[in-house]
């Protein structure tokens, strides 16, 4: 049974989606989604424990052996991403029950959960597969369902946001497809491990260079690196709260995983950093993204949009770590993928609580929330501290490693930028905190209180995780380090 886990990891959520449509009555779709997601989490945890000692699981899908068949290949990084995706969905789904009931019409609930499971399928599939074309299929499964999910937002602007995302996401995925076609043309294989062996002699080939350009631009569009982030702020702002929390924590992160996988495993660090000036390009874009997006975030009047711009900045940090091209930087990136997912997940769940109670996330509607929704705003403060990178929170660990990596390279200005932009993060978090705690609610404001426990518990689970992973780092940092060493070692 355990030997079949790699396949079941993807197949169970995939089968859960139509099941939600068949059993559409009452709370059943939610229950199915929840159980499926918890099962996926259990399987991801089992897989991670199996590869924890550096072993690599290779699974031939349908018994067709690689390179002809599709291979699922799980090393530490894959398993870590699987755990992240399944973990986030397992934490977000209990929250979904009440939040979705409030934000989405009753007759569309089953479609929501079905779409959610498809999104989960796509993301898990992207993280597990070892076949370049299969990646494209899973990108499209997760993207198509996320376009539909974003369009379910209450505001009509959700529709235009979803359309923009659809256009940009499809262009990104098609670019990726062109790149895969080109490397298939020169190597005749689609299996990643096989590609890794056949590409090195072809490093000077123009086809390989073009393929790398198409694949990396395609993935960068999906992971919303500045200046390819234009779809992200609106999509995050107008999507239903649960979708925003899940997408912000996982979708861009899995795309970053793909960048790592293609950069290090398929093309190889030698090609990416010595033949192509990837380090310089990524460094420039990441720094520009971190600085500009942090500034833009300060001037937002909608807190969800503020956090969306902050996400663009945080993606910049992750890419920054990759651009160092050393183990410390890579570790920082991978651990920041994890820590930022936990932090942003918690913050967007807080937004879900506020939207549930107050109906909107505009900055002025936060006035006096510190007194009226004490538990919710306390979660915001703690997760906000983690976003800034204050010691004893998860965000500190990743920023610490980012600065260490920069110093290892001797890039002092970069370390200074990291510290300075953390102050910018403090500014935009403080704006919200100040309004919530030090500004009184308008006299005519309707009475508000903390949302029900069904919303508070998942929010606090993720908020607690922000603190937990700031103190006990053996899970996050330990696996991130191991994954970084595996990637750097060409494994």
């Amino acid at each position: 049974m355990i030997a079949q886990f790699p396949a079941l990891q993807v197949v169970i959520p995939l089968l859960g989606a139509p099941l939600c449509i068949i059993l559409r009555r009452g709370a059943l779709p939610w229950l199915i989604a929840l159980l499926v997601s918890w099962a996926a989490l259990a399987m991801a945890a089992t897989l991670l424990s199996q590869v924890a000692d550096g072993e690599i699981i290779s699974y031939a899908l349908g018994g067709w052996l690689a390179p002809l068949g599709i291979e699922y290949r799980i090393d530490t990084l894959n398993a870590f991403m699987l755990l992240l995706v399944a973990g986030t969905s397992s934490a977000v789904l209990p929250f979904a029950y009440k939040s979705v009931a409030k934000e989405i019409p009753q007759d569309r609930h089953y479609l929501f959960y079905s779409g959610f499971l498809l999104m989960l399928t796509g993301l898990l599939g992207m993280a597990i597969t070892g076949d370049a074309f299969n990646v494209f299929v899973f990108i499209e499964i997760s993207s198509l369902s996320s376009y539909a999910m974003i369009a379910m937002g209450r505001d009509r602007r959700a529709l235009s946001a979803a359309f923009t995302y659809l256009v940009m996401g499809t262009v990104g995925a098609t670019f990726f497809l062109i790149g895969v076609g080109l490397i298939y043309a020169v190597t005749g294989t689609l299996n990643m491990a096989d590609l890794a062996e056949r590409l090195p002699p072809l490093y000077q080939s123009r086809t390989v260079l073009a393929a790398f350009a198409f694949i990396s631009v395609g993935i960068l569009l999906k992971l919303a690196l500045f200046p390819l982030h234009l779809w992200l702020p609106n999509a995050y702002t107008y999507a239903p709260s649960v979708v925003t929390a899940f997408l912000a924590a996982t979708a861009t992160k899995v795309a970053i995983y793909l960048l790592l996988r293609f950069g290090y495993t398929v093309f190889g660090a030698e090609f990416v950093f010595n033949i192509v000036p990837a380090s310089e390009v990524l460094l420039t874009l990441a720094l520009a993204g971190v600085i500009i997006a942090s500034f833009v975030a300060i001037f937002q009047s909608d807190v969800k949009r503020l956090l969306a711009y902050s996400s663009v900045a945080q993606i910049g940090y992750i890419i920054l770590g990759i651009s160092y091209a050393n183990v410390t930087g890579l570790t920082a990136s991978i651990v920041h993928i994890f820590n930022h997912a936990v932090t942003k997940g918690a913050l967007f769940l807080v937004m879900g609580c506020v939207a549930y109670a107050a109906g909107a996330c505009r900055l002025e509607s936060f006035a006096g929330l510190g007194k009226r929704m004490p538990l919710t705003m306390a979660a915001f403060v703690i997760a906000g501290l983690s976003l800034i990178g204050v010691p004893l929170t998860a965000g500190f660990i990743s920023k610490w490693y980012l600065v260490l990596g920069a110093m290892e390279k001797g890039w002092w200005p970069v370390a200074a930028v990291i510290l300075a932009t953390s102050l910018l993060a403090a500014v935009y978090v403080w704006r919200v905190v100040e309004i919530a705690y030090f500004r009184d609610a308008p006299a005519d404001a309707p009475p508000l209180s903390d949302p029900p426990l069904a919303l508070l518990v998942p929010t606090w689970v993720l908020t607690g995780a922000c603190v937990y992973f700031g103190i006990e780092t053996s899970l996050s940092l330990g696996f991130a380090e191991q994954a970084a060493i595996q990637l750097m070692g060409g494994g």
Binding site: L159, L166, V171
Partner: protein, 117 residues
Amino acid sequence: MEVLGHFNYWVVVVLMMIGFYALIARGNLIKKIVGLNIFQASVFLLFITLGKVTGGSAPIIAEGITVYSNPLPHVLILTAIVVGVATTALGLALVVRIHESYSTIEENEIADMDREP
């Protein structure tokens, strides 16, 4: 000869640019989707061209035939076509809903309406 021999690839590039241009330059959402379709179709053509083996027959086992075209890109593109159809359907469905709530499908008019809340 070199130019003619790459005829299919020239078509791919031309179609790709037409599609991409329409996608970027047109403000009408339906035209954007048409552009997206042309763009994707060019990639399908690219893959199918890759699979052609000179003198190869259709990949069906038959007596007396030893050279076959590579069937793998065909299969990949079948999948990609399905994905393309799903994207088009979803995009058009979104356009219908955008038209219902904005009463327009021009990008700049929608942007104007979004700005004034």
